[in-house]
Every structure is written in C-alpha cells, then in structure tokens.
C-alpha cells in the first residue's frame, strides 16, 4: 500500500483540494449511515474513511478507481447514506466516494418518455423535475428526500408506486457503471431492448456498490396522472388492517400504494407533533388515474375496508398522512437512535407477519412500530422500527431485533432486505445453494476486492492478518442472537416516549 500522504496528493491532483477531505469531522460524518451502530463496532471495523472525495464526472470516478491500484486503498461509494446495514460505510478505511455532486439531469426525452440522470441526484429532486415536465417517476423509495438514485438501485429498494407500476428493475432502461478495473460499462443496449443484448442491469440492483459505481441512470417515466387521491381507514387492530391489504390484492384493484401504520407509530408521532391523528391502526391507500377510474377504485377499496371492519377517515387526515409519507421515522428524535428491520414477506402471510413483529417488539421490551405496504401481488414489505439509545451499554442490543425479525420473515417464506456489512450472515440462509454463484459474480467483476470489499458476500474486519481478517457469518449471527437474548432478559420496558415527555415538560 502506498503512503497515505502520497495518496492524498494524487487525489488532490485528480479532483482539486476542495473536493478531497481528510479532516476528522468530515471523516466522522461518513463513518455511519442511517443505522445507529454501537461504538464497540470500531473495534472490529475501521469505519472512518481515510479520505472523502466528491467527483463530478464519470471520468473522475473512473480515475479514482484506477488510482486505487496505485494507492492500494479500498473504495467505498456512497449516495445519501440512508441505508441501514453499513453498505456505504467503510470497513477498512480507504477512499469514500460521495456521489452527491453528480446530481445533474442529463437528458429528458419526452417522445421516448425517459430521463437520464446522474446517480447522485435525489429521488425527490428528480421527481420534482420530471413533474414540471408533465411526467412522474414510476417508483420512489420511502426515503426519497435524501435517497439518491444510485443508492436506491444499489440497495434494491422497494417503495411508493411498485404495486401499481412494477419493480424498480422494470423502470430502468440503462445504467452507466464504472467497473472495478476503471472501465465504463453501459449495462444494456441503447434502445429499449428489454433483457436482450446481454443486459446485465439486474446484477447491479442490490449490489451495494460492490460491483461498480453507478454514475448515470436512464429511467422510464409515467405520464402524470389526472388525479392522485389518498384515502385512509382506521381498524380495531393491525391484524384487521393487514387483512384489508390482503383484500386489496384479492379485489384486483391496483392502487398506487397501500400502507399499514400501527397505533404505536401515531403514539410516538403525537408526542412530537400534536396535530397527528388519534392513535389507531391505520391503512393509507393512494389511488392514481383518471378521475372516474379513481372514483370507481375508491368504491371497491371502501367495500374491502368495510369487510375488514375499517372505518373511513376524514379526507384531510388522509391528505395529511400522504403528504408526510416520506417522513416516517421522526420518532428517532425521542431516543438517540432508531433501527429499522426491512423485510419482504408473502402477502398471503402478512397478517401473521405483522402479528409476529408486534409480539417481538413487546417481548424484547422495545418501543417501536410496525409498518407494511404492498409491493406486488405476491409480496409485501414489512418494515417495523424500534427506538434505541446507542450511547448506553444496553442500547445496541436493540440490533438483536433486526436479526430476529429477519429470521421470522425467512420462516414465513420471505426474506430480510439488505446485506451490507451487518447482515451478510443472511446471504446463505436466503439463497441456499445459489449463494456461491453470487459470490462468483463478485469474483469475476472485482477479483481484487477493490470496490466496497468485504461486504454483501463476505464480512471483512479492519485487520489484514489471516484468521481474523474476516468474520465468519455465523459468528455475526451468534452475536446478534446474543443481543436479542440480552434484550429479552432486560427487566424493564424502554420508556423513550415517557422520558421525552417528561424532559419536555421539565
């Protein structure tokens, strides 16, 4: 490995001093993502990058990747840092490539209904741009305000619009990727050729920046719908609300989005914002289309809700809930951290999954909430979140919840989402005998593990010595199981809500 000062000089020569950072504060800011990691993690990983760089062009990204051959420093690409499992966090320091400055819209083709955008643009900004041109994005992640286009693709996210418009995969026409050897690859043919001409686009969905750095993305656009209307219903329990979501799939109606929010979410929200609706188990459904069609769909949805024992809420409540759809985790302010367990479960078992999530939150004495939404006719996203305080010794044990929730989703025929640095032990459990093929994909594209090495298909520590250079996945799983056990034997329930109210009152 070359001298770090030499590497710094080479980086500065490539990008200029204003786009290379090495001070403690900048490095610290990039040492974590949205998840709260206990400080003890620093014993295992070098979470602080050596440098943070901000490229502005694809050529600069390619130059940075090639530079890594000289410096020997690993490269970690990063979008909005809204991930949960350490995919965009260094494990052995190195050069962190922040893609934020690559946020331009390259082209919008109204005739072909496509937009080409740099990967560092946020979904929110792009959505506003295409809307001004009379289009909408077919997909928006739940964290669209901060999530970048490249970040969401690398995470293989699900989100708003997938139920009606299909998977994010189907919305992508082409990707421009800088490969680990510095070559620039277009992942599909120029025209809309679907899977033809050796399309490799799907490989980069969920790749977590381990196969290449996405620099440009061409997305399909949908025409702006005549009407978007949100309707919401209150239920006597989450099981009923889950049954309602299942009923939507059976009814054949195709809403833009159908979401379940449990009572506890509103309990926590209300502490922060008094105008929050009365705590109840709610289902929020967004409908899009021509006015008459939306009215007809609403009628069918009303009938499904009534069957499941739901009562329709006032239109202004629904509108307010829909407007706040991108800010689901404000409860984080009640504690010093929050952790989300993202899972996909079969729609047919959604009721069971929601019940299990609530039981787990209760058994582990956590403060948390269950959220779920429909992804497609067979799949629902189950994303419960729990509050944690990672500054206390017991705080980090809340991470055990993610492990247990992932296990539960696997048992139900689904799977946890995200591998990154923390959840790699799930790879084999999820994919069984096809897991080695995924590892081979990494071997073929990045044999020297230059890009985001030691993640997704393996877990590296910060050490280079044989024997301790990698963490065996079962050891990670055992550690998280231990955390879950410690949570269970914790004598008292977390009281973040009460503590916050008390503090505010005082």
């Amino acid at each position: 490995m070359a001298d770090v000062d030499y590497a710094y000089r080479r980086l500065v020569n490539t990008l200029g001093p204003e786009r290379v950072a090495r001070n403690e504060y900048d490095r610290m800011a990039y040492s974590h993502d949205f998840a709260s990691l206990p400080k003890i993690a620093l014993l295992q990983w070098q979470l602080y990058p050596d440098f943070v760089v901000l490229p502005q062009t694809t050529e600069e990204v390619a130059a940075l990747v090639k530079l890594s051959d000289e410096s020997g420093l690993p490269i970690v690409p990063r979008g909005g840092g809204t991930g949960w499992y350490g995919g965009a966090v260094p494990n052995r320091g190195g050069v962190l490539v922040d893609m934020h400055k690559m946020n331009r819209v390259v082209a919008l083709d109204p005739a072909l209904r496509t937009v080409t955008v740099e990967a560092g643009s946020t979904w929110h900004d792009l959505a506003r741009y295409v809307e001004s041109k009379g289009f909408v994005l077919p997909f928006e992640p739940t964290n669209a305000v901060a999530s970048t286009i490249g970040g969401a693709i690398n995470s293989g996210l699900v989100g708003f619009g997938t139920y009606a418009n299909g998977a994010l995969r189907d919305a992508i026409v082409n990707l421009e990727v800088v490969l680990p050897d510095g070559r620039i690859l277009k992942t599909a043919a120029g025209a809309d050729a679907s899977g033809a001409f050796a399309n490799v686009t799907p490989l980069f969905l969920g790749a977590e920046g381990t196969l290449g750095i996405l620099t440009k993305v061409t997305l399909r656009l949908r025409p702006k719908p005549e009407v978007t209307k949100a309707v919401s219903y209150g239920f006597s329990g989450t099981a009923q609300a889950a049954r309602f979501l299942q009923g939507i799939v059976d009814s054949g109606v195709t809403p833009y989005h159908a979401l379940l929010l449990d009572k506890d979410h509103f309990v926590m929200e209300r502490v922060l914002r008094p105008e929050t609706p009365d705590p109840a188990d709610l289902a929020l459904v967004a409908l899009q289309g021509p006015k008459d069609d939306v009215a007809d769909q609403e009628k069918t949805i009303d009938e499904s809700a009534a069957k499941a024992g739901g009562r329709k809420l006032a239109p202004e409540v629904s509108a307010r809930l829909w407007a706040r759809r991108f800010t689901m985790y404000s409860a984080r302010r009640l504690s010093k951290g929050l952790v989300v367990s993202n899972n996909l479960v079969p729609v047919a078992k959604l009721e069971e999954a929601v019940t299990q999530a609530r039981t787990l939150i209760r058994k582990m004495k956590l403060n948390g909430s269950v959220q779920a939404f429909l992804v497609d006719s067979s799949t629902a996203s189950l994303a419960p979140y729990v509050l944690m305080d990672d500054t206390t010794p017991s705080g980090g044990t809340a991470l055990g919840f993610v492990k247990k929730m992932g296990d539960a989703s696997l048992e139900l025929g689904g799977h946890p989402m995200g591998l990154g640095l923390l959840m790699v032990f799930n790879l084999r459990k999820m994919h069984g005998r096809s897991a080695p093929f995924l590892a081979e994909v990494k071997n073929v594209l990045d044999p020297s593990r230059k890009l985001n090495g030691g993640k997704t298909v393996e877990v590296w520590t910060k050490f280079h010595f044989p024997g301790i250079r990698a963490v065996p996945p079962p050891a990670m799983a055992a550690g998280l199981n231990l955390m879950a056990f410690l949570r269970r034997i914790k004598p008292t329930q977390d009281k973040f809500v009460k503590a916050y109210e008390h503090e505010r009152g005082s």
Binding site: G156, G166, R169, S251, P290, D296
Partner: protein, 476 residues
Amino acid sequence: MGLLRDWNYVESATQIPALSEMIREALIHALFIRNDRVLPRQIIADLTRTPAVTVKVKDDGEVRKLVNVLNGEESTVSLGLRAEDYNYFRTALGVGKDREIGLTVRAKTLLTHDWLVPEQRGVQLDFGAYGGVEFGSQGHTGIAQVGIDWKALYDEAMAKGHLLPFVPTVPLDFSLGDGLWGDAPYGSYEGEFAAYVNAVRTISAYGHRTRFGFEEVAGNGSGYDLLHAAVPMLTEFAIPLAVALRLVAKPVARKTITYSFDDGAKLSTGLDKFARTSARPAWVHVTDQVAAGVLRPGVPSEAFMVQVSLAGTPSGLAVREKAADAALAGFKAKAADVPNPYDVPADAYRKTAKRAEQSLFVGEVRVPAAALGDFVARLKAFGQQSAAKAGLYASLRWSGTVSALPTFEAVKDPTHQYDLSKGVARLVDKVPGAIFVSRLAHLWSEDAGFRERMELWKRFKLSFDSAHVMQPLVAP
C-alpha cells in the same frame, strides 16, 4: 444451443486464418444457411453433430443424476438404466472417451429458428412430460414445471381463481419453458415475462438443486439479482425445472374490446396516446390484416385491429372502456364481441396455433408506438420487394414501446429466414428508436458495449459451469 455458445463460436471462427478474410456477417450467413462450399470441414462437422441421446424427463432426480454423471461425480451405473439402455447410452455418448459431454434442453415450440451450433453429441432433455403446477393455498403465486403448456397453465390458473398475467403475442403452442430457453414472446401491458418470475428451481452444473430467487416474494435487497439478469440465457448456466410465478387475482369482470384502424398513422397516434394515459389494461395487442386473417379466418378485417383486454369491476370496466375509446380516437370501428385468441377452448387455441405457425417469423422488433405506422409501411414494402407478404403481430407496453413480431408468407427455410431477417434489420435501422432483437441480430451486433457484456457473461459461464456440463462452449 444458446447465445453464449453461438457468439463464442463466431468469435473464435473469425480468428481462424482461413476465415479471417471473411467478414463476420458472411461467416454467420454461411453458418446459418449451411453453405458447406465455403465452410471448412471442421466447422461443417461441428454444425452437423446433434445430441446423441434424448431423455424424456419425468422427475427432477433424473436430471440431477444425469448432471452428476456428465460432470464426473457419479458413474453411469447410478442412472439405473436397463442393460441395453445402459450400453446404448454409453456408446452413443462416447462415455469414457476424452471429451466433454454437454446437456441441452429441447424447445417445444420455436417462434423463429434455432441457434447455430447444436449440442455436440451430448444429451438433450425433453420436458414435454414434466408439466405439473401447484398454486399457493393463499395468495396469488404458483410453481409450474417447465414442461407445462402455456394454455394449460392459463386455464388452470383461471380455474383456481388466479389470472396468469402474461400471454404470448403470437398464440403458438408454447410451453412455459419456451420463455426461458426458447423465444416465446410472453408479456403483458405492464411487463415482460421476467417481471412475473419470482424464482426458478434448477439443477446446477454441480448437480445441486439450486433455487434462484424467492418462490413466494420478490428478491429485492437480497444481493445481486442474478435471476433476472440470467433469465434470457439461464439454460447456459443451469437446467431450469420449475418456475415460481407471480400471478394476480382473477378479476371480477373482463372484457376484450376490438378497435379497427384503416391507417397506420392513426394507429400509431392512437397507441402512443393510449400509452400516455394511466390506463392499466391486461394487454393491448395489434394485428394487421394478414395476422388477423390467421387468427380469425374468414372474418373480414380492417388494415389493423387493436385488441384491448380490460379487467376490473363491471362499473370500472365501463370507465376504462370510455378512457380507451378516447385515447384510441381515430379508430374506424369498435366491437366487443370479437373473441381474443386466449380465452377459447384448448382445441380452438391449438387450431389457431397451427395456422399461425405456418408463417415465417424473424424475431422481435422493439419500436416506439409513435413510429409503428412508419415501421409497418416499410415492412409491407419490403415484403412486396421480397415476394413474401408481410404481416404483423404486436403488443404494446406501458412504456410506449411496441414489441412487434413481423411475419412473412414464405417457405420456412434458412435462406428465406436469413434474407428476411437481414431485410428487417436494415429497415429497423431507418426507424428512429427501433431495435431488432432477434437471435441473428445478436450475432450480427458488433457494438462495443454488447461485446463487453458478452465477455462478462462468458466469464460468468466459465465460472458457474467449470465442469463444462451446461451446453459447454464450442470453438472450431
């Protein structure tokens, strides 16, 4: 018998000094039409070899054993064949000789034509008798064995309260597996075939039962989406056995509306406008007079017929029909009593398939809806020049792209197939935004990006199938 093998073969053949003078396209032409006068003896021998043994699959265990025998992990004894079959098997395959024995899958129905380089004296799997299906007791999923006929799957799903969301644009008698290893043009208004595939159960080159994807849910966020990347060439990496499909609920009401257009320009405008609405039909298919005559013989047809399949509640259908009428403004006539080719008894479907398969197909052209009229006009003119009356089956996607399948009334021989393919490729070049995605078009392509991606796939292939069992690569 796949893209990787053909592409690798053509790439290697162009390195042969005797052929290096020959331009790539002339070589592909000679390979395709089997012009033995210009091809070296070695290449003729490669093209002449055919699979030595065909195995009719009844059980996935047989495939697993077979793979293990071919990759050298088990002896032929483990196949449990009778003495005479055992001897035939070993002799025909040349077991014990110092050469690779590969495994390939036989397509039930091909829309266009086979790949160039056949399996070299290996084993061919026939999944014709491997056609069971199981539907989830709750929810809308199903696991279907690859040999099941599309029509049987469609009908069975409907009987169990589901709707199979994808249909073949040309209603031939395809099996489900033809969507994986063949060229069955499955799709819907909302997506391509792969969009409905949750997982595929396979036997890997190491003889393991290996599942790609998740049977009950989508695979998002679980690592690289190898399944959807590999679907178009899956059989070059593993032997697919069953497909876990995402279905939808059987709608309360369905309706097929047929619009007639007398002019290609009006048709293009109508389809483009339709795709710019937020309508969500099950499928939108276009046929010209030639194709309509095949689907509904004896029934007079306008220049173009557009069939729109709507689903929903009875009141919702009326609303959607009104919206479709408005978007497709410019149609000459509209009818609600013209049957679609899919919701008919199995015998009637098969009869239609028999008529349709008489035509010569060259492959798929993906063209923007707004340019469909232009493309069809050029296609018709080309058909006249070539003395092969041209027709068209097409399917509209929400993205505004039309998946068009040109058809010709011509003798189905390699020479016609090649010349007509070449002609279509030339005219597609003149239509902005259009792309020809046939098997031959893949081999003709010298695009640098495509070559890079193929090199990647070749490296994946050599890595996934280090035992060289799944259609091993062949070089002259």
